[in-house]
């Protein structure tokens, strides 16, 4: 519990100057444009196990910052270090102050494993946590925000898993925090409940609340986060806006071709050759177009066509459990891919085009990439990232 804050509160009650020392004073001095969270070289070990291995992190005001990573990567430890509920080495500052000296009124926390006092209703729980702060939001409005207004009088233990989690989220926002730590807020919540939490996070962010979000739901982080950091083995291996991470690490869009089973080696080779030919033709057309524009451009296009033709990797065609997968197909190239399939004499049942997502980034950088051939996830050498 917060000894410094209690001392500060007590001092305020006594009409004394704030005794929280540099921390609270620094927090006040921090300007609106200063980073809300700064961590440099953050390290934490539990005996022989290194949980955080020199993490550098920075969260800007009003940002929704997503933290992803496999189980045991150190996400919860980092949240604990930033909220002052565990000791960690390194320079950690929240609102310009060490975590334990931050005014608790400004912080909201939903711990990952959280089981509030039993035999209290959802409404009483929110009222209880609100009662610990100097100022708290109206209980009804908080419950409405998390979609729990209709179940406000139900005892916590009688609620479903999703309702419980939403009630816990309510306890984290009851003090209207400037910085909200949500450690896997939607675990166990059904799609409707998740959506209400997503909308809540978006509303909070729109209102200027900085949100530090950890999650295993990649679609959630991709949708909500302004920037994402990926933790692996206690270190940040990539950080940036989801779009940039996807562009850099997500791979290329692909076309899933459903056959009546896995494609034979012959089919794969035929499609690969047909796609290669289609690419060559496309680039050749581009070369002709470029020739009209200028000789230099034509030479470049011709060179690209030769490279595509010569490169065995150009058409990334792989057999999958359902058929085959053609990599590197952009929306405008779907017609060419269909032509290539027909040219190769492959009868397909359906096509599904997909863009790379944050999940692909996660799988690549954590070394848990999906293998289309086996249909299973396996340990692969992770991309290096910017560790």
């Amino acid at each position: 519990m917060n000894e410094t804050a209690a001392a500060s509160a007590s001092a305020a009650e006594d009409g004394e100057p704030d005794r929280a020392g540099g921390g609270a004073a620094d927090a006040v001095a921090a300007t609106d444009s200063d980073p809300v969270v700064v961590g440099e070289g953050v390290r934490k070990s539990y005996g022989e196990v290194v949980a955080l291995d020199g993490v550098d992190i920075r969260v800007e005001p009003g940002e929704v910052f997503g933290l992803i990573g496999p189980n045991g990567a150190g996400k919860t430890t980092l949240v604990r270090a930033l909220t002052g509920t565990t000791e960690a080495e390194g320079d950690l500052r929240v609102f310009g102050a060490p975590p334990r000296e931050v005014d608790p009124q400004r912080i909201g926390l939903l711990p990952q494993a959280f089981d509030p006092p039993e035999r209290l209703t959802a409404s009483e729980l929110v009222e209880y946590y609100g009662g610990l702060y100097d100022a708290a939001r109206d209980v009804e409005s908080v419950l409405r925000d998390v979609g729990m207004a209709d179940d406000a009088d139900a005892w916590y233990e009688t609620l479903s898993g999703g309702q419980k989690r939403r009630t816990c989220v309510a306890t984290a926002i009851v003090n209207d925090p400037d910085l909200l730590f949500l450690d896997e807020p939607t675990t166990g919540i059904d799609p409707a409940g998740r959506r209400s939490i997503h909308r809540l996070i978006e509303r909070l962010a729109d209102g200027g609340t900085t949100v530090f979000l950890t999650s295993h739901a990649m679609d959630e982080v991709e949708r909500l986060a302004d920037r994402v950091a990926l933790l692996r083995d206690g270190a940040v291996v990539a950080v940036g806006p989801p779009d940039e991470l996807i562009a850099e690490h997500g791979g290329e869009p692909s076309l899933e071709v459903a056959l009546d089973g896995p494609a034979s080696e012959g089919d794969v080779e035929a499609v690969r050759e047909a796609v290669r030919e289609a690419v060559r033709e496309a680039l050749s057309d581009e070369s002709t177009e470029s020739a009209r524009a200028g000789e230099g451009e034509a030479e470049k296009a011709s060179g690209r066509a030769e490279k595509a033709s010569a490169s065995k990797d150009a058409p990334a065609v792989e057999s999958t459990r359902e058929g085959l997968r053609i990599g590197g197909v952009r929306p405008e190239g779907i017609g060419d891919a269909v032509d290539a399939l027909e040219a190769a004499g492959v009868d397909f049942e359906s096509l599904a085009w997909s863009e790379p997502s944050l999940e692909d980034v996660y799988l690549r950088l954590t070394g848990e990439e999906y293998s289309p051939r086996s249909g299973e996830f396996g340990e692969t050498a992770p991309d290096g990232g910017d560790r």
């Binding site: 209690a6 565990t86 000791e87 608790p104 711990p111 509030p116 035999r119 946590y129 009662g131």
Partner: protein
């Protein structure tokens, strides 16, 4: 929110949470009742003048009170800490303005209220089912003070046990291990004359001894009790301070 407000909020939630657990409430009050019925009515005083229960019934009033004053706070605060730790509640509370001392004080107040009610029940039962006649004097007003101070002391000790034990099972085992010897070797049910001379310093070192001596001086054998209350109060402050420091803040 003022410090008083935070303590009131925590105490209110803790009290509601406890009072709605019917089984916990029932056994909290049933435990001392069954004890009085067994040792006060069933076993009774050894008529030949020897044995464990050789003293008049009134002598054992402090012992019956000691059962709830000792066992209930130890197990309740210890278990509460274990439950809070297991449920990530301390992690959450660490980011709120409430301090560890305020948290322990709030739970101590709840225990004082619960055990105060249980003590009243015990006194009434002792009068009804045994031939004990508590001395009625102005000093009787100090009896609730003794109960409250002793409860605070053992809440502090319970917090220490809860912080040291790594599970609820561990807390129960630890509190029983601590409470049983204290209960029987603190001038409650066993008079000092039944113990060897060399063991008496250990009896004097038990905080419960001062509760037993003080309350006996009030309800059974009128005598000075302020000294006992002073010792008990100092120990209560020390244990509360140690207990508050031991309440987990981090993992």
């Amino acid at each position: 929110m003022t410090r008083v407000g935070r303590i009131a909020t925590e105490a209110s939630a803790a009290a509601r949470s406890f009072l709605r657990r019917r089984t916990a409430v029932f056994f909290t009050f049933f435990f001392p009742v069954i004890l009085v019925l067994i040792f006060g009515a069933l076993v009774q005083t050894q008529p030949t003048g020897g044995g464990l229960f050789a003293e008049p019934a009134g002598y054992y009033i402090p012992g019956y009170l000691a059962v709830v004053v000792l066992f209930t706070p130890l197990s309740r605060v210890g278990s509460e800490i274990a439950r809070h730790r297991d449920g990530g509640r301390f992690e959450k509370l660490a980011t709120t303005p409430i301090s560890r001392g305020e948290w322990l004080l709030a739970h101590t107040l709840v225990n004082v209220a619960i055990i105060g009610a249980a003590s009243l029940l015990i006194l009434a039962l002792v009068v009804v089912v045994t031939d004990a006649e508590p001395v009625v004097s102005p000093a009787l007003a100090a009896l609730p003070v003794f109960v409250a101070v002793a409860v605070a002391l053992f809440c502090g000790l319970g917090a220490l046990l809860g912080a040291l034990a790594d599970s609820q099972d561990g807390v129960i085992a630890a509190s029983n291990t601590v409470a049983l010897p204290l209960l029987f070797l603190s001038e409650t049910f066993v008079s000092p004359s039944l113990l060897p001379e060399w063991f008496l310093p250990a009896v004097a070192a038990s905080p419960l001894t001062y509760f037993a001596r003080g309350t006996r001086a009030i309800v059974y054998e009128p005598g000075p009790w302020l000294g006992d209350l002073a010792v008990l109060s100092v120990l209560a402050l020390a244990f509360l301070a140690l207990g508050a420091a031991a309440v987990p803040r981090t993992d």
